[in-house]
Structures are given as C-alpha cells and as structure tokens.
C-alpha cells in the first residue's frame, strides 16, 4: 500500500489523508463532529464502524455509501447528508 497522501474533496474543501483512511475518518479530519441529521433533526455520526448501523451514510461521488466501509480515493467527492 502506497504511503503517498491523497487529496479528496469533503463538503467543498480539499482534505489530505493517508491511503487506507476511510471516508468516515476523512469527515472527522475535515472538522465535522456530525455527519448526518436524524429524522428528528438531531446530529449523528458513525457508531459501529462496521457497516451495520448506517449512521455514517454520506454521498460519495453522487451515490449514498457508508463512510466507514469506503476508502478515500484521489479526487473523490464527499458530501455529508443534509
């Protein structure tokens, strides 16, 4: 696995991460404590880390993906859910 840092776009900002970093981590690295809003408007973020709880859902290149199970890739566009 290469160690060259890569750059992806998170909520409109360029974020630099090490390869092997998940999108969930990238969101936190970009300064977000909450990555999703619950149906009643409460802030939420990743809980189970293993693709079960669905709290880390985000838009990755236009499609809904689980942040904890998606590795950052160069040029990836990530938008947290409204």
């Amino acid at each position: 696995m290469t160690k060259t840092p890569l750059v992806l776009r998170v909520n409109g900002r360029d974020i630099t991460v090490t390869p092997g970093t998940t999108v969930a981590a990238a969101l936190a690295l970009s300064g977000l404590t909450a990555t999703r809003t619950s149906v009643n408007g409460e802030p939420r973020s990743a809980v189970c880390g293993m693709g079960i709880c669905q709290e880390c859902r985000v838009h990755v290149d236009g499609r809904v993906r689980l942040g904890c199970q998606t590795l950052c890739a160069p040029g990836m566009v990530v938008e947290s859910m409204p």
Binding site: G20, T22, V39, P43, R44, V47, C53
Partner: protein, 440 residues
C-alpha cells in the same frame, strides 16, 4: 433524481466457483486457504474494502500480528482464490446462487460448497445520550481508529463488557487518546474467576498482562452521556456510586452477537447460545443444509483463534480432506474451552435493561423511543405501528437491543440483506434487464 450520477451497469456479471466463502475475517481466510489447498476454485466475498474482518481490520493505523499478515498474504498469493472486496451479499437467487453488490455493480455467484463466515456484530444498548456524536461502539471505535479516525488528545471512556474492551483501550491509547476509564459491567468476582483460569491459555494470559489497564473498573456501567451536539460528559454508575467525567468520546459495547441472517435465510438451523442465535454446526462445521458450512463467530462468539481452527476445518471438509480437517480439532477444542470460559464471565447484568428511560431512542434510524415501544408485545407489531426497524439498518441495531430489553424474537431476514441499489435487485432475474418501454 440526478441523471448525472455515474451509472453502475444494469446487467449482473456472473461468476462461479467450487467453494464460495462469505467473509474474509480469521475464519473466512483460514477456510479459503484450506479449501484452495487442493486447487479448487475459491471465491471469497467480504463487505469491507480489505480482508481481515473486524479483529484483523487493516487501515492507516492498524497493527496486525505476524500470523494474520502471513495468512492474508498466502490467500492473496493463491491463484485459485478470487477475493471480492466491498462485496455485500444482497439475496439468495436459488439453492446455489447468491446475488452480490459491489460499488461497481451486481454479481451473481454460483457455488457448489458454501462456507458462511459472517462473523459477529457488537451489541449496542441504548442509554440516555447514546445518540450523541462521539458515542460509538467499543469495537466500533477500534474499527474507526484503524480507519484513520483522529483521536489524538481526546479523552475517551471505554465501556460495556468483554475482553474486547482491553484491546480497544490499547488501540485508543496508541492513537494518542487519553483513556480515562475502562468500565466493565461484570463484577470483580466474575473477572477474578475469569483471570484465575487464564493460565490454561498462556497466550491469553500474556495478552491480558500486556493489555492490563490501571483505569479498569468492574461493576461499572455508562449510565448516561450529556453534551450539546456532541459528547461532553459521561455519567457512570459504579456499584452504588455515580461519577461524572468530562470527556470527548464514549466507546461502549456490550459483547458480540453472531451475524446469522444469511445462514438463516439459506435455511440453516440456528440455536440459542448465551441469549442470542448462533448457526448450528457439527464437528465438520456443516450446517443443517447440505453443502453449506459455517465457521467463526457466526457459529457462536468464540474468539479469533477458534475462528481460524473452525475455518480450516470447514475449508478442508468442503473439499473432502477430512484427515487434514481432523488435525485442527485439537486447536478448535482448546479455543472452544476458552470461549465458554470467557462467555460465562461476561454475562450481561439485568440492570442494563433499565438503562434507557422513556425518551431514550431505541431505533436510531427512525427515532423511535423506548417509551413508544413499551406498549407493544412483539417486534413485528411494534415495527408496523412505530416504524422501529423500518430504517436503513433494517433492525440490526434496534432489533438486537429489543431482543435484550424486551425479549423480542427477530424474524428471518429477506432480501435485500443489506441496503442495495434498486439496479442490483433488478438484476436478480434470469433475463437481462430491459430499460426500454415494454409493450403492454
């Protein structure tokens, strides 16, 4: 709906193999190595971006034992084994075909022998404040840290139950977090009984000594978490004392629950073990369905070493190498005994059922509270009327909690076993999809 989304192709690709293995954790990787040892064509499906499952999760901050790395490399190097990462099993198309989704598209896999190694998930129990950002599972935090989650300088309380808590605390510290406390709900008496027999498993004793933690407290439970939009304080109940600590993260998990959904949907018999369902297997790791085997945590929580032994046995038995399988039985028995011992120590206290108050959410996806659920008598009725379990997690989190809190049995899973694109399900049929107008 945006028309500019990059499209996944609308036809499933087809693949077939002699041995299909679902899950690339310790059990699945061991099974793959054994099954391919005679040259059989093996496919391994795993829903994470890289092999390893939970305990051997790779990532920017992972630190794997040499044996784990060696096994993964051996599996990768083997030409007879095809590993499909980020692959989620979505449905069962017929007795020998699974429908799988990857980020790239849909896949139909035909198999002759199937080995289910779907592992276990963490039991997340509700308590006031558990939905605040900064609260995660204990294994959940470990997984997130291995994926690069920054915890440098953060004050963390690790809590819940099980030997996993030690490893989580160690991972957190290594990543620069300040672990304020490791709060184990089991009593000192249970932990002492557990520790007393550890010399029977010297490597576990060594692990325990290496991971020992001055901040470890028994009979300690996270009672509530407070904060404005994120974790700021945690209140712990320790015996009869309540303590409140300022902190940034609370990582709390109450043991592991076997992932039996796929096996059950395949028709495999399950049995109750330590209060939860596990896949029933015989000495050859066969389930009650012909040609289907199971190994690892999905057959009952038993730890990584037992999973490897079970996986090897399953893999060898699947290709008819019963002699080679038998050689692993001593290991399996040794680690099975440890599993029984560990599970008995970390039984969950009934007190945990009174953690949630009426306003505490039980269903996180649909924001359904404990109070709203109390009036119902079973899962299906509660779901129909309150929406509990109708969200994206498909009841995997709230259903596990409801089983513990209310004794509700969960129904069998239906396709899709995990959220999957409509386009993937549209590939489930025999004929290729026709997106043109079909004449009436």
């Amino acid at each position: 709906m945006s028309a500019s989304i990059k499209s996944a192709p609308l036809v499933a690709t087809l693949d077939s193999c002699e041995v299909l293995i679902v899950g690339a954790g310790p059990a699945g990787l061991s099974a793959a190595k054994a099954a391919a040892s005679g040259g059989a064509r093996v496919i391994v499906l795993d829903d994470n971006p890289a092999e390893g499952g939970q305990i051997w999760r790779r990532g920017a901050h992972a630190d794997l034992p040499a044996s784990a790395i060696a096994l993964q490399q051996a599996v990768r190097a083997c030409d007879a084994i095809r590993i499909v990462n980020s692959a989620k099993v979505v449905g069962i198309l017929d007795a020998q075909t699974l429908l799988v989704e990857t980020p790239e598209g849909a896949l139909k896999v035909r198999w002759q022998k199937l080995i289910v190694c779907t592992g276990a998930r963490e039991r997340l129990l509700p308590f006031p404040g558990w939905t605040l950002p900064g609260v995660s599972g204990a294994g959940g935090l470990q997984a997130l840290i291995k994926g690069g989650m920054p915890v440098q300088g953060q004050r963390v309380v690790v809590a819940g139950s099980g030997p996993l808590l030690f490893a989580v605390a160690a991972t957190a510290r290594k990543a620069g977090a300040k672990v304020l406390m490791v709060a184990e709900q089991a009593s000192l008496a249970r932990l002492t009984a557990f520790a007393r027999k550890l010399p029977l498993w010297p490597s576990k004793l060594l692990q325990a000594v290496q991971l020992r933690d001055a901040s470890y407290r028994t009979s300690s439970v996270v009672w509530s978490v407070q904060g404005q939009g994120r974790v700021q304080q945690v209140t712990l109940k320790q015996g009869n004392r309540m303590t409140t600590l300022e902190c940034d993260r609370v990582a709390v998990g109450y043991g592991l629950v076997p992932n039996t959904g796929l096996a059950e949907a395949l028709g495999c018999t399950l049995h109750l073990q330590d209060g939860v369902s596990a896949v029933t297997v015989n000495t050859q790791q066969q389930t009650t369905v012909p040609h289907i085997y199971a190994a690892g945590e999905c057959t009952g929580v038993g730890g990584c070493e037992r999973a490897q032994a079970q996986g090897s046995i399953a893999g060898y038995c699947a290709i008819g190498e019963l002699g080679k399988a038998r050689k692993q039985e001593k290991d399996r028995a040794y680690w099975s005994a440890f599993a029984v011992h560990a599970n008995s120590a970390f039984v969950l206290d009934e007190e945990l059922k009174s953690l949630p108050d009426a306003a505490t959410l039980v269903c996180r996806c649909e924001d359904v509270s404990h109070g709203a659920l109390l009036g119902h008598t079973n899962w299906t009725e509660a779901k129909i009327h309150t929406r509990c379990g109708m969200g994206a997690c498909q009841g995997k989190v709230c259903g596990t909690a409801a089983q513990f809190l209310y004794g509700w049995q969960m129904p069998e899973a239906r396709l899709p076993f995990t959220p999957a694109r409509v386009g993937t399900l549209a590939c489930a049929g025999g004929a290729p999809p026709d997106t043109n107008r079909v004449e009436p």
